[in-house]
């Protein structure tokens, strides 16, 4: 019969202890998330309804719904991604596929890394200087979106670069050996095999852009604006808009006697839309991964 030695017994015990330790740490990470969502939902339950989503705030924001800030956030996110996604993706393709190691690419890569670490309030001040004042856009959806775009750009470049690097170099070499240009290689092999990673990186920036308050509060988001309820085109991008993040901040700190559930409802809508978008990106990623070809 096989008998366990002292050493292998201790090894097995340590193994069990470590596994439980890591499991506890993982649970500690998930617990706050569940508590936050649970607490928000519990507090928000009295106000949550479709009507809450599709009516404007009323009585100096003390009652009513979220239509204006909700639509404003959508505008800000969509317009900013329209700017940052193409620039970020094409810049990453250039840096990864075309550029040779040089002072230019080194500085660009350094700039990307550093820009990603700049606090959002600094982006806000840059946005005021560059877009609101210098470019003469005034405080508008356009100026706020461009500020958000500048903020998300470095992260999109970084995530796209990661996705491109995941395509094996040998595929590119095989294409070059066959007389393909770099562009033909990129179009037929590199992009089709990195698109899931690229899109995931872009979509994850939706949650970041939707949640930020500082970059938009000086560049285009306002305390209150009355718009047509239920009209998706109620905002003009040269005008200001409301936004969920700023709305949550103002009704929580600036307005007295707000109906109990409204701030929590606002938070639920903000977190819920972000989670929804993230879930969509996971579904997309899984779908594209099933088509992975090597």
């Amino acid at each position: 019969m096989f008998t366990e030695t002292e050493i292998s017994k201790r090894k097995r015990q340590t193994e069990n202890v470590m596994r439980i330790f890591f499991l506890v740490m993982t649970s500690l990470m998930i617990l706050p998330l569940l508590l936050i969502i649970g607490y928000l939902l519990y507090k928000a339950l009295p106000v949550l309804s479709l009507e809450f989503l599709f009516t404007n705030p009323k009585d100096n924001m003390r009652a009513g719904g979220l239509w204006a800030p909700f639509l404003g956030t959508i505008y800000l996110v969509v317009v900013s991604l329209f700017v940052s996604a193409p620039i970020g993706i094409f810049a990453a393709v250039y840096l990864n596929e075309y550029a040779r190691e040089s002072w230019f690419t080194r500085i660009t890569n350094l700039a990307v890394v550093n820009l990603a670490g700049v606090p959002s309030i600094v982006h806000a001040l840059f946005g005021v200087g560059a877009f609101v004042l210098f470019a003469g856009l005034g405080e508008s959806i356009l100026a706020a979106s461009l500020t958000l775009a500048i903020m998300t750009l470095p992260v999109i470049i970084a995530s796209t670069t990661e996705a491109l690097k995941a395509v094996p170099m040998s595929f590119r070499e095989a294409c070059w050996n066959l007389g393909a240009t770099r562009w033909q290689t990129i179009r037929r092999i590199v992009i089709p095999n990195s698109i899931s990673g690229i899109l995931t990186g872009v979509i994850l920036q939706v949650s970041r852009a939707a949640g930020e308050t500082a970059p938009i509060m000086f560049t285009g988001a306002v305390f209150y604006k009355n718009i047509t309820e239920g009209n998706l085109f109620a905002y003009n991008i040269t005008e200001q808009c409301m936004a969920l993040s700023l709305h949550l901040f103002t009704i929580s700190t600036q307005v007295p006697d707000v109906t109990e559930g409204i701030p929590y409802g606002t938070a639920v809508v903000l977190v819920g839309s972000v989670l929804l978008v993230n879930a969509a990106s996971i579904v997309l990623r899984v779908y594209l991964r099933t088509r992975k070809k090597w």
Partner: protein
Amino acid sequence: MKTNSQNGSQMTPIIEVTDLRVHYGDKLALKGVSFDVYQNEILGIIGPAQSGKTTLLKVINRTLEFTPDATIEGSVKLDGEDISTISDVYGLRRRIGMVQPLPVGLPLSIYDNVAFAPRTAGIRSKSELDVIVERCLQQAALWEEVKERLNTLGTQLSGGQQQRLTIARALSHQPEILCLDEFSIAVDPVTTMRIEEVLKTLRTEMTILLVTNLVQQAKRLANRTAFFLNGDLIEIDTTDIIFSENPAEQATYDYVNGTFG
């Protein structure tokens, strides 16, 4: 260095390499090599790792340009034309078929793998592509195994099949020269012998540069054999002489007989 080919028809040089030096940064990978490659011969290129064999192939199809710190001196002429002055580098690469050591099936269907180069060269007609795909897969001795499933992924073939797929792909742009870089490294012996048979028939249509770490493979296939060592061309001569009891250099004798350090 002496070269004496047996028959006159092989005496037209298709590639002329003159004093070729390649640096990777400070490191000298090819130390001034000169030799000719004749029309319709199989030139075996043997030598241990780090002797500059792969670098030589990359110079010939100008893919060394993708290695950032590589610099090239000397000249390589293809049909009398200096390749560094050819402006249509993609056309140049299509005149040369390249097979790499590890099979690289592109993440495309078997059909699209073979049709890749013709398509990048602008061929769109489905019937024309069908003919090319069948011809190349036939030539690479893969057609019978895959003709029923041309639309399945090339990356799902076995290693030996994938290597024959890369050979079919390398033939798809009708190259004048076929370069094989240690093609048998990831291929079983039976497949290796099948590919060797393929190469023997291809010799009538094109010139073949066979880089190999199996000296017996060079002995079996090559008309002439070149022995590279540490970036130097030690000796190039008919395969009979290289593998005889008295090649010009002692190092050659030691290497082909396996008594080399």
